[in-house]
Symmetry: C2
Subunit: 142 residues, 2 copies
Amino acid sequence: MNTPDPVIQAAWVTIVSKSRTLLEAVEAALKNAGLPPLAWYDALLEIEKAGPDGLRPFELKERLLLPQYGTSRLLDRMAKAELIERRDCDDDGRGQIVCISDKGQAVRQAMWPVYARVLSEKIEDKLSPEDAAQLVKLLSKL
Amino acid sequence: MNTPDPVIQAAWVTIVSKSRTLLEAVEAALKNAGLPPLAWYDALLEIEKAGPDGLRPFELKERLLLPQYGTSRLLDRMAKAELIERRDCDDDGRGQIVCISDKGQAVRQAMWPVYARVLSEKIEDKLSPEDAAQLVKLLSKL
DNA sequence: CTCATTTAGATGCACCTGCATCTAAATTGC
DNA sequence: GCAATTTAGATGCAGGTGCATCTAAATGAG
């Protein structure tokens, strides 16, 4: 098998290991603050952005690139924590509509400073805006 | 909370999403070929590099940055699959020595072409060596 | 030597994920 | 309109992960 060039392997290793440590830092900070995991933030943000009419689970699944069963269970957990509301969909008897609750908004807002602080410390303090732009440009080629 | 600059947020999102899709591609290719997950490759490689004298689980844990319990269970699974051998450590009655088996070497070697092909298609084909070097340089600042 | 502390590794429990499959409603083809 | 197919969403099961804790051996202080 033709082995990828060492610099390509280095790129791979670096991408994977940095993203892992960054993710762990965010998850740890959230847990430490008694807040839900990062996946909930992304979901709450999408649901909040959908506005008062909410959105369908399959739309959430597409936007977050989650598997269908993962979405179903994530919504279960968030509903149990009363961060979202699920109601039957009028247009489609199979479906439902998901909306964020007041508590859900509050929790998302509480998560942001914790989340942002990690991004600030681990990324903003280490990269100039030019570096960051360059990084996005390079990663976007993948 | 002072929100990180948008380009910093873009960098974060890009790092996380690209590493996720790359990892999923590697895992899917391995699974598709009937091979073990990526974590096993890393572990087998470290154990193989340790040579005939093997290494201690705590050393593996440090090299792979895994939690202690994760290492213990990963070794359980690999031992059950007969890819490694665990023997008691003479020097330390609490410890053990882990070595790769012939089958373990064969499996690791079978994994590499599958793994390498994904790296080749998803990274090498998309980035010049200069791009890759630049990417490593930027990510290394984090 | 003896007791307290540290270190290596295993494990019970709760929770999360992937896979396959199921139910029910919507859509399509005839 | 009706049977076949597709789509939305839920779920049983097997396995993986984090957390806390446990056992046993090594180390260290007196």
